[in-house]
């Protein structure tokens, strides 16, 4: 990942937070004074470098971890806005990335019972819950959407 790609990545993340959604190639091209095709080529390199995840078959972002560009079962209220997270880990990551307290709304993956977790000063208010990761770390990026 060269310096230009890191710059593109950081701009893309900044736009995600400013817009409250994934930026399009056109949004990003305007912001970086480039062309949509050049932005897309850069995003493809960042996807290959696991710096973001593109939606297959489109010219759109799927994940700018911990943020999700598509609706998921993990909703997070942080910095006066609702976000979608890619998974439970990312749900806690949104408040961490924004450096703010957050509220996570999710559900038990087994029974579906709703969970509402307040994270204050980096600590969840319910310490009885458990996190299960099915895929070993070495395999996370084999299929990051499944992971």
């Amino acid at each position: 990942m060269n310096e230009g790609d890191v710059e593109l990545r950081n701009l893309t993340y900044r736009l995600f937070v400013e817009l409250g959604r994934a930026p399009t190639v056109d949004d990003t091209a305007v912001a970086i004074s480039s062309t949509p095709d050049d932005v897309w080529a850069g995003w493809e390199r960042l996807h290959s470098g696991h710096a973001l995840v593109l939606q297959a078959g489109t010219r759109e972002i799927r994940m700018a971890n911990p943020f999700s560009a598509v609706p998921t079962a993990y909703r997070v209220f942080a910095d006066n806005r609702w976000w979608f997270a890619n998974c439970a880990w990312d749900a806690f990551g949104i408040g961490a990335a924004l450096h703010t307290d957050s509220r996570i709304e999710a559900s038990c993956a087994d029974c579906g019972e709703p969970m509402r977790i307040e994270v204050r000063n980096e600590e969840p208010d319910d310490d009885s819950l458990l996190f299960h990761c099915l895929v070993p770390a070495i395999r996370w990026w084999d299929d990051i959407v499944f992971t």
Binding site: A51, F92, A97, A109, C111, E123, F131, C133
Partner: protein, 84 residues
């Protein structure tokens, strides 16, 4: 990567699948802050695999399940585990 109410719910959810690893949500919170805390920093730089592994190690996530390197944690050797 999911949340559960209890170990029993994890077992129910797994069914016949092999377990991965389970940590308390408090540990997940620590992990998330260590892992994602720099993600929107304007001068963010990519971390090396060693740096990522150090974050996991520092949190006590030293089980082979959490190994980011093939040499250390071959998944064929993994067993269901519960990390601290």
């Amino acid at each position: 990567m999911n949340l559960f109410r209890s170990e029993e719910h994890i077992t129910n959810w797994l069914g016949t699948r092999n377990a991965g690893t389970t940590i308390p949500v408090t540990k997940l919170g620590e992990l998330a802050h260590a892992w994602w805390g720099d993600r929107i920093d304007p001068n963010w730089q990519p971390r090396t695999r060693a740096q990522n592994q150090a974050i996991l190690n520092d949190l006590g996530l030293t089980d082979p399940f959490w190994s980011l390197s093939e040499a250390v944690g071959s998944p064929t050797k993994l067993r269901p585990s519960r990390s601290p």
